[in-house]
Amino acid sequence: MAAAQPRTIRGRAAIYLLAIVFAVFSGFPFLWAALTMVRQDSDLYVTTHNPFVLAKPPTLGHITDLLRNTPYLQFILNDIVIGLATVVITLVLSLPAAYALARLSGRWGEKVGIAIFLTYLVPPTLLFLPLSRLITVIGLQDSIWSLVVVYPGFTIPLSTWLLMGFLRSIPRDIEEQAQVDGYSRLGAVVRTVFPLALPGIFTVVVFTFTLTMQDFIYALAFVSSSSSMTVSVGVPTVLIRGDVFYWQSLMASAIIVAIPVALLYNVFLGRFIRGFTLGAVKG
């Protein structure tokens, strides 16, 4: 690694200082949200005392309020259903494509691979208008399935790239051995490549799922009834009712989603990076 471990006291102090600064910079909003989430109203809507100290005992009332009296749980459920369905579609389509790119591509194959990846660069803000029209035409407007249809548009390119990287790292020998041992190419792949690619596939599943949760514009454009909304859309629109902001519940709604997703990312980060860089190495 080029960033050498600092050996001087000054160097180490600088690292710690910077680390703290960045940690605070990144984490402060979440700290504030977490504090807010358990504050009683009378403690929250005052400006006189130190906002980092709770003057009144914390309460979970706002969280239960969020879970019981709002469509929040429905939002989460929608996200889960959409996420899983998108993952299935994405895997079914990108796994074979990734295999073809990793093993069978000639000159034209490389070009198709790059073209697939390029579609990720087409911004949703360009596509959401025609797509919203198309969604209406096929009658999926205001339904979570409109998102299930559209999301693979950006999850497929990324998944294909990731999977291609993982598949490339499986030696070709093993597939050929299985062919010599008596299987057709398809049989060989299913029996040798697939089991060995499972960790990579799992990583892609996690990655795709979390990617679907990130979308805002499509969900906002296609869905208007709260029963079909995702968390991303529901929280800023439905939970902010007119001029009345139930801030504690709002903060809770954000934290409840943010922490698990971040934990997942942290666990899989190393593998994401490896998959992406593997996909970039030619041959």
Binding site: I174, E176, Q177, A178, Q179, V180, D181, G182, S184, L196
Partner: protein
């Protein structure tokens, strides 16, 4: 009947002709080695026989049947790759049983066959282990057991010893040869290591640039090379080649000895050897120099066994002799052998 036969086999990759018209027949039960430098086409040829590549032209026959357009699984072959390609996610037992499962053998019949193959390779005790727990030599044996279990018509081996460390290679080579002789299945073996080839092969096919330069027993290849390529590729150090009177004259380093050690014999050719360097390797002495009277440009090597104790020093000009029967003549333009062993008068 030839177990494996190729007819005018050609394979093109883009603009390169990897295999350029190869006709080959194996004898039943023989150990045939495909020997050549990297890029000569030996691995491509093996893969064509296996069915992992499709020829651009020509045919492959196995067991008398034309298999050119059949996939590997239909050819009744077994192959061992350089990496052994053991299935990492399966036990040794499952690895060996894999071809049986592919052929549709009922599950209850498999253990007997697996145990039979394992015992012939002495790995009965390893059946429950996984590949990553095995040593290099053990992995080779598992790969061979897996190849054996289907009782194929031919074994195809692609440089299986290259991944072993040097010490292991010699004993693994020994085991391989002994295994093949026991089992008696025709084997085609690819290697770039000419020592391996000489040690293992019943016959050796020397390849270069997609064609067979010569095919014959190790003795034939070594002592009667068909051209300068074979002559210089096989044998270490390579054969000495001199230009003389418009032809190439060749003799091997171990055949080039001090006149005083050999004594005078009829049909000898004597040379004035100008020594530039001496390497003492214990079992042999390598003497480097040139022959000013014949071909001052050519670098000549003599290999003296330790039993020849004649002192030789740098800067000496010593008479060295080659016995007439060891001389080989090659066409200077084409490299082919033109004559062998003619006695000549002193130059």
């Amino acid at each position: 009947m030839a177990v494996v036969e190729t007819k005018s086999l050609r394979k093109e990759f883009g603009h390169t002709m990897a295999v350029d018209g190869i006709d080959l027949q194996t004898d039943e039960g023989e150990y045939l080695v495909l020997l050549g430098p990297s890029g000569c086409g030996k691995t491509t040829l093996l893969r064509l026989i296996a069915g992992l590549e499709h020829p651009s032209h020509g045919d492959v026959l196995i067991g008398g049947q034309v298999v050119t357009h059949l996939p590997p699984r239909a050819r009744q072959i077994a192959m061992v790759f350089q990496s052994y390609a053991l299935y990492p996610h399966k036990t040794v037992f499952a690895n060996i049983a894999f071809p049986l499962a592919a052929a549709g053998m009922p599950r209850d019949q498999r253990p007997e066959k697996v145990r039979w193959a394992a015992s012939r390779l002495g790995i009965d005790g390893l059946l429950e282990r996984r590949p990553r727990q095995l040593s290099g030599g053990e992995r080779q044996r598992v790969a061979l057991a897996r190849a054996l279990v289907r009782e194929p018509q031919v074994f195809l081996l692609d440089e299986p010893l290259s991944n072993l460390d040097a010490k292991l290679r010699a004993s693994a080579r020994d085991e391989l040869k002994e295994f093949q002789q026991r089992v008696g299945i025709t084997t085609i073996y690819v290697t770039h290591d000419q020592v391996e080839a000489m040690g293992l092969g019943d016959r050796i096919a020397v390849l270069n640039e997609g064609t067979i330069q010569q095919i014959g027993t190790p003795d034939e290849i070594y002592h009667h090379p068909a051209n300068t390529f074979v002559a210089t590729f096989v044998g270490s150090p390579p054969m000495n080649l001199l230009t003389r009177d418009g032809t190439l004259l060749g003799f091997r380093p171990e055949q080039f000895l001090p006149a005083s050690a050999v004594g005078e014999r009829p049909g000898q050719m004597v040379f004035d050897f100008a020594v530039t360097r001496v390497e003492n390797l214990g079992s042999d002495r390598y003497v480097y120099g040139h022959l000013p009277g014949v071909d001052p440009e050519a670098k000549v090597i003599a290999k003296l066994p330790s039993t020849v104790t004649t002192p030789v020093y740098v800067g000496d000009r010593v008479p060295f002799v080659v016995s007439g029967g060891d001389l080989r003549y090659f066409n200077q333009r084409t490299g082919t052998l033109t004559a062998a062993g003619e006695a000549e008068v002193k130059p």
